[in-house]
Symmetry: C2
Amino acid sequence: MPNKIPHIVIGRLPLYLRVLNRLHKEGKVYASSQELGKLLDISAAQIRKDLSHFGELGKRGTGYQIEFLIDELGKILNTDTIWKMAVVGAGDVGHALANYNGFVNRGFEVAAIFDCDPDKVGNQIGDLTIKDCSEMQAVVDQENIKIAVIATPAEAAQQVAEDLISTGVKAILNYAPIFLKVADDVHVEHIDPAVHLQKLSYYLE
Amino acid sequence: MPNKIPHIVIGRLPLYLRVLNRLHKEGKVYASSQELGKLLDISAAQIRKDLSHFGELGKRGTGYQIEFLIDELGKILNTDTIWKMAVVGAGDVGHALANYNGFVNRGFEVAAIFDCDPDKVGNQIGDLTIKDCSEMQAVVDQENIKIAVIATPAEAAQQVAEDLISTGVKAILNYAPIFLKVADDVHVEHIDPAVHLQKLSYYLE
DNA sequence: TAGATTGTTAATCGATTAACAATC
DNA sequence: TAGATTGTTAATCGATTAACAATC
């Protein structure tokens, strides 16, 4: 299963999961590829093709059993347990992440938040106390953290990434508007709202 | 120029712009497709191909003049002027967006922030006063707003999108973890950190 | 059984890359 | 001029779609 699945297919699985969770909450039991496709603007054929990479998850004639498929996708994506995450940078984005309640039922939890600014260290965000960057190694070890989120200014991000990686972090979600250079065994995703806005503005006027 | 360019090409232009701005700030004058590719993990051939959609922007033998290319990409993406944006939802994400200083030199500005919760209306975020949702139409008209950001809970997002569109908004950046259904002439981009995290966790362990 | 929908194959479509003539 | 790098074509590669037999 961790074999030859195209990255683009993996990228769609979280979308399937999101819509399935919604349908489940609405009390639905089965969903066909056609229904899911309508809700996601994705062709039914593509959804079937994507899911077929992981076995026969549906039933001919009736479609996909929602609860079952949610479980399977959770296992495939490794979100059937909770990943503890570190957030670096206790600015507005760091605050938003620390307070976000949408992580826990999707497989994630902010376990620690760091900042290098001594004025911020010690302050409270919800249940979390902002820790100094120097404590990163100890906390990552203690909490067994594999995923980190970078929410620092662009100038600090590359160094923070390297520090995180040297503590053993293997995956980074980067909010800083800069491309991170990392070794091949570290996975990075980028979020940059201005990039999305620039895509949008191309199509305006 | 607003013709047949593939969406996937448009999606890379903001990345080119971002790295070019960095090089410009560092004082560089020219950059080759190979250099840019190294900084972005994109092949040099692809960068040349992408840029060639918009004319002959480089010079054989020397590469691309950074300042010139920044200007050209700004014109292509319509970010050579400032777009005024509305943010709906004055929670943590709304705050982070209103305070973000990375928009203005990339073509955007948060001109207004709305919330439907009367307890929040009237509060201040930086220079902005949180306005009631009922004022949306008036503000969108007055400020000539075409782009909005949705930063509400998932349950409210679809309705907010429809309200925004009825005021004349043509592009939406959606932070709510739900797929928005909109007419074909409205453009939507989605940002959902949990989706990115789930992609990352697939590759872990 | 009849109707519905999957899983899968083959065909199509589109995107990336390699290669090189053009040219700065 | 010699060296470098673009713009562009053709070849390759990969992803999407259409279609349908299998089967619930």
